[in-house]
């Protein structure tokens, strides 16, 4: 009787000590989360306080200037936008096609394993290395020069591993029962992929593409390396014009600047007014990134709702 009670008490003590440890770990985790969160909020609020007053219509429509009050980000955001367009056009078809091939056609052998390892490693290569590669290959060897096209190609290559991995993960999430059902109805492999696998992986692929693009939007090192201009007073030529054939690709070959470069340039000026400009431009960049991520989440939510299996 007493031996049993003693055992019960010992067990209760042990459970109590485990619960204390549990609580302690939860507490530590919360503190860690708090530190990360507060740091981010502090930085963001600091940027907001500095930059908010500078945000105005003129800020978006003015070129950079030696006078801080008149400086704007027109060339910068148009440049960023143009580059993102090229990046997407480069990264999406190649990345998705590569992901589809590796998952549906490649099979498991030493070659596909080697490719997979290489792709995963490429995701970790410092971005300036991509800049150096682009400088040699695109700028000089291919002769594209320091243009929007080169920047887009460079950043496209940079985010290619992200797109490929996102594509592969989404494709893997499609259950095999769907594939078997399609095959059993007489579909060929390509039909099965295009009628089923790709449509069902689209939310995941889109999410990966947008996350890749939101990474590319902030990359400064590669585009500085290929020769983005710091101070520019003109925009790339418009893609639409009034002479035949009405669409022009001249804007691809144009010199350019981008938001991260503009921010970098203003931050290195001692004048406090330029610091405020930098904060404002940074706010714009953060807002664009958050908007893209928000779009990714929304798309994933809307499209995933249809996928019940």
């Amino acid at each position: 009787m007493s031996a049993q009670t003693a055992e019960l008490t010992a067990i209760r003590k042990m459970i109590a000590s485990h619960k204390r440890r549990d609580l302690m770990f939860a507490g530590l985790g919360f503190v860690a989360l708090g530190i990360a969160f507060i740091t981010f909020v502090a930085l963001f609020v600091d940027m907001l306080v500095d930059g908010w007053p500078r945000l105005s219509a003129e800020f978006f429509t003015n070129y950079a200037s030696r006078r801080a009050e008149q400086a704007g980000i027109l060339a910068a955001w148009v440049g960023t936008f143009s580059i993102m367009l090229v990046t997407a056009v480069v990264a999406v078809p190649i990345g998705v096609a590569a992901g589809v091939y590796l998952e549906e056609y490649g099979g498991r052998n030493w070659l596909t394993n080697l490719i997979e390892i290489n792709i995963n490693n490429l995701a970790g290569v410092p971005s300036i290395v991509y800049g150096l590669l682009a400088l040699g290959m695109f700028v000089h060897t291919f002769g594209f020069g320091a243009s929007v096209l080169t920047a887009g190609l460079t950043l496209g290559l940079l985010i290619l591993p992200i797109v490929i991995v996102a594509t592969r993960e989404s494709i893997r999430a499609v259950p095999n029962s769907m594939r078997e059902a399609a095959y059993a109805l007489g579909a060929t492999r390509w039909r099965m992929v295009s009628d089923h696998v790709l449509p069902y992986s689209t939310p995941g692929i889109l999410t990966g593409v947008i996350i890749g693009l939101s990474r590319a939007i902030g990359e400064t090192a590669p585009i500085i390396t290929i020769g983005a201009v710091i101070f520019i007073m003109f925009l790339p030529p418009s893609p639409i014009n009034t002479d035949f054939p009405f669409v022009s690709f001249d804007w691809l070959w144009s010199d350019f600047t981008a938001l991260p470069i503009q921010i970098f340039n203003w931050t290195s000026r001692p004048d406090a007014a330029f610091q405020a400009n930098a904060s404002a431009a940074a706010l714009v960049l953060v807002a664009m990134t958050l908007a893209m991520n928000g779009l990714a989440i929304w798309i994933r939510f809307r499209l995933r709702r249809r996928l019940k299996w």
Partner: protein
Amino acid sequence: MATKTPKPELSSLTMKAEARQLSFFYGSMQALKNIDLPIYDRRVTALIGPSGCGKSTFLRCFNRMHDLYPGNRYQGQIRFFPDDIDLLSPKVDPIEVRMRLSMVFQKPNPFPKTIFENVAYGLRVRGVSKRSVLREKVEEALVDAALWNEVKDRLEDLAGNLSGGQQQRLCIARALASNPELLLFDEPTSALDPIATASIEELIHDLKRKITILIVTHNMQQAARVSDFTAYMYLGDLVEYGWTDDVFFRPKHKQTEDYITGRFG
């Protein structure tokens, strides 16, 4: 339960398919051993046996599903009538085989698309794209699958919103839409509740008037209820085959009798 029709003479029945000395290897492991089995036209043939006996493996040979995975090897033949081709021959295109035979899987696997698109998919694969033709054939298939009344007002709803039994009937409609010559059922009710199971068994009974059915089931009573012929398999061998009544009430092998009376399995 429907009345049992009197047994005709075997010679008056036509064969739809026939497995001849069929063996199958997963890599080096032999899963099927020299199986000879007739499948009679517009009759239900059931495959029973304990887990691992090879009945699903045997079924999946018919529509060449094993071709989809590496390392598999067929041996022997499956003759298919009336044109008397060997379904397993490397000269026969598996895509063509799968267009002539349809399969219903164990766990209902409708596509995450609308009910209409699910049933229409087999038709689209065959190049049918005219909306009016699709609508007609989809309705026909859903009627045959005893699902039309329940879904006729919501064909554009997502298939995932249907209940388990309805989803399985949808899969049956999907399989029927392209007018297959042989219908393969791989344990179609093992994931369903008894009421859904009963409705599917009744469906199979109605379907067999039009189409030949080969059904794998782990549920012996289901085989007894639903099939005309039964094949009992054990560890890759075909132990016994015959009219369902004969196999269940007058089994020739003691092993069959042991399985049926539940001494093992």
